[in-house]
Symmetry: C2
Subunit: 199 residues, 2 copies
């Protein structure tokens, strides 16, 4: 792994576990044993490093999604594996990560989030259409409306006024959104697959 | 019916069918055959009249909901009757009504909407809890999270950037939100009731 990639992966790991604000460029340099000069040669500033981290996480997540879809028996299996994976990921993210992101680096998140959202919405439309063809998803579901609705719901995850982080965990909210979504659009055949997953 | 009540009901009817902007205090006076002086003695201005109309509509809708709950065999029946009633209501509302409301009278809508939203959320929590007790709604559904999520989704109905009114009807979006919601949280016993309703 080259130095740039190592800095991205390990910084992301630190941000996720300890929040963004408490992890300074100094502490990254110290923890990784890489001089601050080298870090600043590769990243203009902390915003730039963070942007690279998020971009990397998104690319990873899109790769994982493609793998999940490729390896799943059907659309419902794909959705559920995706849900389970993300619930586990969210469980290890320190709530400070989201808090700091929104408070101190809103622009970085907006920019990277927008593109990811579009791709995600397109993928949901494809999966739902496939699921309808295969009889796992109800034929009267409007894939386009549904994809927009679920994307908007995932945005609600970031609404700390509605769901104060000291009262609700992101993983619990995500699970409620995602499980009800998939159960809501499933046919009887689809529900049989869901029930096997015990979700 | 006293004059004030008649003005409220008939103006609301006009607003709903023709939008708010095109219905002036003059045209209300003409259509109802009530002098403008009388109208202005009862309502400070158009905003005040509109506020009264919305408040009336909300009170009516809350009364209807209580009736529905009282007359329904179970929680699922209550939800579905409520959904069907609202789909029908939305079908007759001119999209201009929502457009004008947001563009020309945002404050009126914000104020009256907030209170209604709170009550609605509380009622959903009660219904979901009852449905869990009666075995119609899955026991692992978090009533509190679910009520907030569905309330937020109904707010999406007003997002014309996401759902341009020339491409999507409010009643279609509402139906997708509501039907998937109730199917998503239902048990097998609940789904049997839903399937009888053909939704």
């Amino acid at each position: 792994m080259d130095t740039k990639q190592r800095i991205i992966e390990e910084s992301l790991n630190l941000f996720i576990h300890y929040g963004i604000k408490s992890i300074t460029m100094d502490s990254i340099s110290e923890t990784l044993g890489i001089s601050k000069r080298t870090i600043y040669e590769l990243f203009k500033d902390k915003d730039d490093l963070l942007k690279n981290c998020i971009q990397y996480k998104i690319t990873e997540s899109e790769k994982a999604n493609r793998e999940i879809i490729k390896n799943s028996e059907n659309v419902i299996d794909a959705f559920l594996t995706h849900i389970k994976r993300n619930v586990e990921i969210m469980k290890v993210i320190n709530p400070l990560f989201f808090f700091d992101a929104k408070k101190y680096h809103p622009e970085v998140f907006k920019l990277t989030g927008k593109e990811h959202e579009k791709k995600g919405c397109k993928q949901i439309i494809e999966l739902v259409s496939q699921g309808k063809k295969d009889g796992y998803i109800r034929s009267d579901v409007n894939a386009d409306i549904i994809a927009k609705l679920i994307t908007e719901q995932f945005k609600i995850l970031g609404n700390d006024d509605l769901f104060p982080p000291d009262k609700y965990s992101k993983s619990e909210i995500f699970e409620n959104i995602a499980v009800n979504f998939i159960r809501g659009i499933a046919t009887e055949k689809g529900l049989a697959v869901i029930n096997k997953h015990k979700l």
